[in-house]
Symmetry: C2
Subunit: 382 residues, 2 copies
Amino acid sequence: MKKQMLMVPGPTPVPPEVLQAMGKQMINHRGAAFGELFSEVNHLIKKVFQTENHVLIFPGAGTGAMEAAVVNLTEPGERVLLATIGAFGDRFGDILEGHGVIVERVEAEWGMAIDPQAVKEKLENNREIKKLFITHNETSTGVTNDLKAVKDAIPDDVLMIVDAVSGLGGIDLKMDEWGIDVVVTGSQKALMIPPGLAFIALNDRAWKVVEENKAPKYYWDFKLARKFLEKNPPETPYTPAVSLLYALQASLRLIIEEGLENVFARHELMAKAIRAGVKALGLKMLAEDDVASHTVTAVYSPEGIDVGKLRKLMREKYGITLAGGQKKLEGKIFRIGHLGYVDWPDVVTVLAGLELALKELGYPVEFGTAIKAAQEILFAGR
Amino acid sequence: MKKQMLMVPGPTPVPPEVLQAMGKQMINHRGAAFGELFSEVNHLIKKVFQTENHVLIFPGAGTGAMEAAVVNLTEPGERVLLATIGAFGDRFGDILEGHGVIVERVEAEWGMAIDPQAVKEKLENNREIKKLFITHNETSTGVTNDLKAVKDAIPDDVLMIVDAVSGLGGIDLKMDEWGIDVVVTGSQKALMIPPGLAFIALNDRAWKVVEENKAPKYYWDFKLARKFLEKNPPETPYTPAVSLLYALQASLRLIIEEGLENVFARHELMAKAIRAGVKALGLKMLAEDDVASHTVTAVYSPEGIDVGKLRKLMREKYGITLAGGQKKLEGKIFRIGHLGYVDWPDVVTVLAGLELALKELGYPVEFGTAIKAAQEILFAGR
């Protein structure tokens, strides 16, 4: 027996109610029972997207949702702006370029957020660019972009297309209120269900672009998906991932019951407690406090401590799985995922495990230091 | 309380062991536990595909697997041959044309199989065509194509790309032995797991085409998927649908334990018993015996019996969900799915329900007629 704790930024732990929901037997996806399930899910997911727009749901990974946005909103040869601050921003660029789109870039050093003024200037100096692709929360660095500030800064006629895979449902993103045009996400992060669903919401002006789009597509055809979604009861063009929709129904009920604002506050509190704890041990954070993500925290391994050994010890002796660094941060940082089904006992446990493992690897630790710092935050924040 | 029986050609009923497997907690998709799961699944799925080639697995629907085959194997402007005998053959054509491929067609009347000689002649008269897209088992009509005969008839240098969504795992398809180049399928049919996984296997000469292919793609990039599959332990380029892979592991163990030949024999026996029962009631079949599918049976509604009313009565009073007709067969036929987790009690029940419902709608029925005919087949076949 060894208790296992998965603290990577996706897949995230799934609540028991949600796991159980997947045990339900199959139903006909053209029948009334599916209509009821899909109607409820469509209704509740809009609340999490903070939108009145349709949210399209496809069987697929988050990367599929990103590609779906690209093939429905861009044409080969078109010039767009990509604001990237890490590996997943770069992936958006790879997908765009893979489809023949010409990608201009605004970047930030890994660990920093995008500068809204830099985006504004780039767009003002390139008025033929009408689409901005940007990451909400960069999973590879644990940094959240200030989407509202970016949106407020850029010209009105530029469509803002957001990869919110590791943010949506954990960090506030007011799609309608802020005027974000397109939001894509996946299922296995703050939505607390297993991987396998891809989500995309578009506002009216994004739909106008979709309606005129000529890029080849079939599986990701938004117009076809909308046509089936607007049936009564709603359907999908081809077989939906029924079990994952049962899971989604269960998880959305949990999220709505807790209250979206409370969910965001919980994520913020857990993130702050973890940061306080890690800092109390003298470890260096990749991101500054003001841009630090509420869903994933990136930490430099202490001088002389091999990050691979640290993660291995955490995993094998203490049952806690942490993520490593990606691309240029590989071997330099570890990342703690704290999104979705995560509460204060998880924070205390991961910090206690970190203290134990660091001490074993020869790093000077006074047991309880990180936990005490986290408790101060938790006590004040509750 | 009303017992529910889902007898549509997908999603199909999922065995309890498989539903339970989906209740497992998430794991890190870059860790050792996932490597073990994915290794076993990759090993076992090859047996079901009857191939030594890699079988790629993506989060997605069967339609996604079809589009994946198109964007990895064809180029816009290329001319290919489509052999279509129903709605899903036509869908392959829609996907191809959606990607700018020029589609030549060989068709058969709905309810008939493709004529291998017609395919051969078309290809011999159009030697610039190097790819044949064809359906294994046409779900909309309940007809199985003789893929071996087609393969033996066509020129050697033509790549044969097969949609086996409603056939694979239920009807024999010897990919390697017959020399089929590409086979695609989905999870929610004879594989007995919920919808949400897309599968593609390719032989060496198909991989050569993939390697030279320039069509834009990212999510469905076979080369990228193979690169990750060949890691040790195997991985996927982006987050896999972990729960569905647990389900797949459980279902593949069941299939291998039963023995693939026994699984095929069971499907054949159930199909024959259902056909015998339905015929004994005097109902007309869409397909002749020699091309009739072992996984789905299409039946004309008797003269004067509204097929919608029949399906509704079956569903609401007897708890048995049957499928209707698609496209040009809508309102004319009903379809009984009998693939995957289906055994003789299901056959007896669906026939008994059919007798009850038909009698209630005024069709002359001597109770037990269909069941007796089915029992004769079951008794002889065991």
